[in-house]
Symmetry: C2
């Protein structure tokens, strides 16, 4: 299957207002009950008829797929603004990116969507796995790489392949967080823990990929909390 490059998965089915309302209800159901609800349950919760659901989305998998696409398309705003690069700014961007991503993957919404997508990836039904992959893992890769490359161009970072640098970033930031949440280990990961985890991850990342030519290398204690106004990366 091997997802190639594409991020947006350009099939952008537009939904009507009513349909979006319904999809939000489905999303809430997925968060609360996983994948185990019936179409009748959706209709009841959303106060709509099963007939409408089938007319709009085809079948049950179509409902779930539309829900995931709707959620994925939701936060496609917030482009990263390419500011003038100095090491402190880069560090701040990376920390904001890391903290944001950590808060996303620990959110109930992301966990629920990933769970459904993973279970659907098992048996062949539906493309949910690919959709989540494209809008999660690969989307944030495509968003982070330009930042990394800008850092390299400015002489602050050093790496051969931005893909490999990104994967190291992914590992250092995410560690065991996502798999633990997916498997139901609901350990505490509050705002503060996320901030310190993000800082530690970026410290480590800069040790591995920083040139040390600009900015306090491996200092780590001074900066304030990761920028709150950073671009939302991905909701999945």
């Amino acid at each position: 299957m091997m997802i190639a490059v594409a991020v947006p998965d350009d099939e952008e089915a537009e939904f009507t207002e009513r349909q979006r309302e319904v999809l939000d209800v489905v999303l809430a159901l997925m968060v609360e009950e996983g994948d185990g609800f019936s179409v009748a349950r959706i209709a009841r919760a959303a106060s709509c008829s099963k007939e409408s659901l089938y007319k709009w989305f085809g079948d049950r998998d179509g409902i779930l797929t539309a829900t995931v696409q709707w959620q994925a398309s939701r936060v496609r705003a917030g482009e990263y603004d390419r500011q003038r690069l100095d090491a402190a700014q880069l560090r701040k961007s990376l920390e904001g990116f890391a903290a944001n991503w950590l808060s996303v993957i620990s959110s109930k919404t992301s966990i629920a969507l990933n769970r459904v997508a993973v279970s659907h990836a098992g048996n062949g039904r539906s493309r949910l796995g690919q959709i989540v992959l494209a809008n999660g893992r690969f989307a944030i890769g495509e968003r982070l790489k330009p930042i990394l490359e800008a850092g390299r161009a400015a002489g602050i970072l050093d790496f051969e392949s931005s893909e490999e640098a990104f994967r190291a970033f992914f590992g250092l930031v995410g560690r065991d967080v996502q798999i633990r949440f997916l498997l139901g280990d609901d350990f505490l990961l509050d705002e503060e823990t996320i901030a310190t985890d993000a800082r530690r991850a970026i410290d480590q990342f800069l040790v591995l990929f920083g040139t040390g030519k600009d900015g306090k290398k491996n200092a780590g204690g001074t900066g304030d909390a990761p920028a709150a106004g950073e671009a939302k990366i991905s909701i999945i």
Copy 2:
């Protein structure tokens, strides 16, 4: 739920020979078809009666739980032999550990079990998530930490918390591999890629946590392939 410490999940239900045969068939079904097979399908595939299945395992969830436990108990052998510590030996152990774990999480069996466990963790049914967590993530943690601590005691490694050091190891080795496989991205990860990935991960790990007092720090090109005879870590 926050799994505390325990690894073996000591409820070790012993299974008869016939039951183990059946559980292997269930495992094969899970690998091939995910979670979407009926109990009748198991009975047909295993040439046993549904009545026996229900007598042995209670209900369908009991069958799946027994399957996961059986697989988990399978490779609990292979203890790490505490050899005399020098840096080259430690590096070799870590590389072997990493390569072994990568080959496990990219195996069809592990992917299938984790998928089922993740989907069951969504709705509350069954303890599959916790079982997989205990025998996967936490089991390898408990196996690796003594090695890391031995390395620290020998002055080769430096870290405050072995838990944190292990989580960094986990991230550097696993990166995006597990989530990509779980979501159905069947990219190539052959023996050779695993070996080089393991070496790169350990190089990075040693940059972050090595003291550099012993052994070629950050050299990376010389060692041969990771020891093949290393202990099997975990099958999940």
